[in-house]
């Protein structure tokens, strides 16, 4: 690795590419020249940018800290429902009291509420589960809590509308002006918000705080013995990674103008895992690109067959087996080794990069003692 020139640093900056992608998405999202569909759909583009944010937030924990949360849709759904309930208003009866909230139109307050509730919930969860679990146990317990949130949205019909969810959510006005009713306007609004949020996320990842997260991913024990309070960093990362999906949920509600419990389902939690791995979980652009490609496949293949999910599965399996570092990993390889060598590396068994799970090293004397007690 040589020091990059300033020009190269700008040219290779992930935020530049994110901006470029968002700029062309309305033109290319869902386009398929083979089927004679030459123009994109702005609605698909909107879905892509919202999920780019959801997946990127999730990936802060997955790709950068190395913990797989299998329940991140809970933060997405919390953001979405908070926004829907705030906008539509609600009346509930709780412990003999009647709580009424009138319909309100203020997107900033809705955003703050979404963030506040999601972050508070994430913080409580993180304090509870992060010091006690990692690896597969962490994945399972996040899944369990996500199911709790899912069933609250599913069962508490009085508040959440149950299985049907909430409909007729008005697009918000910006300072009183109804600027978001046009699909295009809403796309640019969403893309701008997502881009700003991604800038913030990039700043976090590139900061010294972000390096510590990488250190924890690589080797928790070493990080601890350097003097880092590993669990505290993991808790903070968990809370941060919950905030971005909440913002995505906020946008999602305004975009869909309706919300139902699916937003918090296992399927949504799994989708962002797939998007991150597809795009490349250890890169910043990975989940952003992954979200776009996921919906590109969904849109094009679902026109051909109702089994489009099987095709997504095949693409996913292809990447897990052949290029576990995802599309961005392949791009990296092509930059370093050239196209021909990359293809050869992909085809040879040796070149497969393992997704390593760094186990905590067993103290040597302890290992020896265990051996001895077995004998």
């Amino acid at each position: 690795m040589k020091k990059r020139s300033p020009l190269a640093a700008v040219m290779l900056h992930p935020l530049l590419w994110t901006g470029l992608l968002f700029a062309v998405l309305p033109v290319i999202a869902g386009a398929n020249p083979f089927a004679g569909q030459w123009t994109g759909f702005v609605g698909i583009a909107t879905t892509m940018v919202i999920f780019a944010l959801f997946a990127s937030g999730f990936n802060l924990l997955f790709g950068h800290v190395g913990e797989l949360s299998f329940g991140h849709a809970m933060f997405f759904t919390i953001g979405a429902y908070a926004t829907a309930l705030y906008s539509n208003g609600f009346t509930i009866h709780l412990f003999g009291a009647t709580i009424v909230h009138a319909p309100t139109d203020n997107l900033f307050v809705a955003l703050l509420l979404s963030l506040l509730i999601a972050v508070l919930w994430a913080w409580l969860l993180a304090r509870l589960i992060v010091p006690r679990s990692s690896g597969i146990y962490f994945s399972m317990i996040t899944l369990a809590f996500a199911q709790v949130v899912f069933f609250v949205t599913y069962e508490w019909s009085e508040l959440t509308g149950g299985e049907d969810g909430l409909q007729g959510i008005a697009r918000p006005t910006i300072f009183g002006a109804p600027m978001l009713n046009e699909t295009y306007h809403f796309y640019w609004f969403a893309a701008t918000i997502v881009f700003l949020a991604l800038c913030l996320l990039y700043w976090v990842v590139a900061s010294p705080f972000g390096s510590v997260l990488h250190a924890i991913r690589e080797n928790k024990q070493r990080a601890r013995f350097l003097g880092y309070d590993v669990d505290k960093f993991r808790v903070n990362a968990f809370v941060l990674s919950a905030a971005f999906p909440a913002v995505a949920g906020w946008l999602w509600t305004y975009y869909q103008q309706a919300i139902n419990p699916d937003a918090g389902s296992v399927e949504y939690s799994g989708n962002v895992v797939m998007m991150s791995m597809l795009g490349g979980m250890q890169t910043f652009l990975g989940p952003i690109l992954g979200a776009s490609i996921y919906y590109e496949i969904q849109n094009n293949v679902s026109q051909l067959t109702k089994y489009w999910e099987a095709w997504i599965g095949i693409v996913f399996v292809f990447f897990v087996l052949v290029g576990p570092r995802g599309i961005m990993g392949l791009v990296d390889d092509i930059r370093h080794y050239g196209l021909a060598r990359t293809v050869r590396r992909l085809l040879s068994r040796r070149a497969r990069v393992e997704i390593e799970l760094h186990e905590e090293l067993l103290p040597v004397d302890e290992a020896a003692a265990v051996t001895r007690s077995v004998q």
């Binding site: 990488h214 690589e218 004397d365 003692a369 265990v370």
Partner: protein, 248 residues
């Protein structure tokens, strides 16, 4: 006498096996304090107890007058106790530079500044550079740590320990698996950094042990067999029987 570590009845058992058995000793400040002993004598377990990697089964530990028996490892590191590992323990997928930078950053306070770019820590790049020069890895700074040779990885490990400029270093077999040239360079490095610090060393290379140690503590089956200067240890009959004799 001023001590860095004091232990009282320090014991650690693993499912019935006693690795460290009621060790009560004071490790004086300064110098190279080496721990030797046959395999399974409890040297590394003793290190693990001092550094907070394992909780003791019984007994207490003090560090410069402060009881640290139940202090978590990261807080001990912040007190200035740095350790290296017998099995190379680095951030394999990160660059050599990043490895050292993380180690330097760990002890700079000001958590609020953590979200600002590295440049704001004014002495971070300077300090990182000087540590890389110290361990002779400046030219390899952009390499991934996992791609370094074994000897260089061991040196990086020492670099991680040195980066925080700790008053106390626990080095667990820093020379293991090194070539004679690498061993020579590493011994020189240890000698160079020793003044003003306390170095606890677990090492098997008996020639090195005899030449660089201020005192030697001999462990056998979890207990302290003898403590003394290299000359005293060489002359000690019990030690010769238990340990040196095997090598002679």
């Amino acid at each position: 006498m001023e001590y860095v570590f004091k232990t009282d009845g320090l014991t650690r058992t693993f499912s019935g096996f006693t690795a460290v058995n009621e060790v009560s000793l004071e490790i004086p400040a300064g110098g190279v304090r080496t721990i030797i002993g046959p395999n399974g004598a409890g040297k590394t377990t003793f290190f693990n107890l001092l550094s907070g990697m394992l909780p003791p089964s019984a007994g207490r530990i003090w560090f410069k007058g402060l009881e640290i028996t139940s202090l978590p490892a990261y807080q001990r590191a912040r007190l200035g106790i740095a350790r290296s590992f017998q099995i190379t323990n680095i951030f394999g997928h990160l660059s050599v530079y990043e490895n050292v930078r993380l180690a330097v950053q760990a002890v700079l306070d000001g958590k609020a500044r953590f979200l600002f770019p590295g440049g704001r820590f004014t002495d971070l790049p300077t300090k990182t550079e000087s540590v890389l020069h110290d361990v002779g890895l400046w030219d390899a700074r952009d390499m991934r740590a996992e791609n370094l040779s074994h000897g260089d990885q061991r040196r990086l490990e020492i670099g991680l320990v040195l980066a925080s400029d700790p008053p106390v270093l626990l080095l667990d077999e820093p020379l293991a698996g090194m070539s004679p040239t690498e061993t020579h360079a590493t011994v020189e490095l240890i000698n160079r950094i020793a003044p003003g610090r306390t170095i606890l060393l677990v090492e098997h290379d008996i020639d090195v042990v005899m030449s660089i140690s201020t005192t030697i503590t001999v462990f056998q089956t979890g207990s302290v067999l003898a403590i003394g200067t290299p000359a005293e240890i060489r002359a000690n009959e019990a030690v010769q029987r238990a340990y040196l004799g095997e090598l002679a």
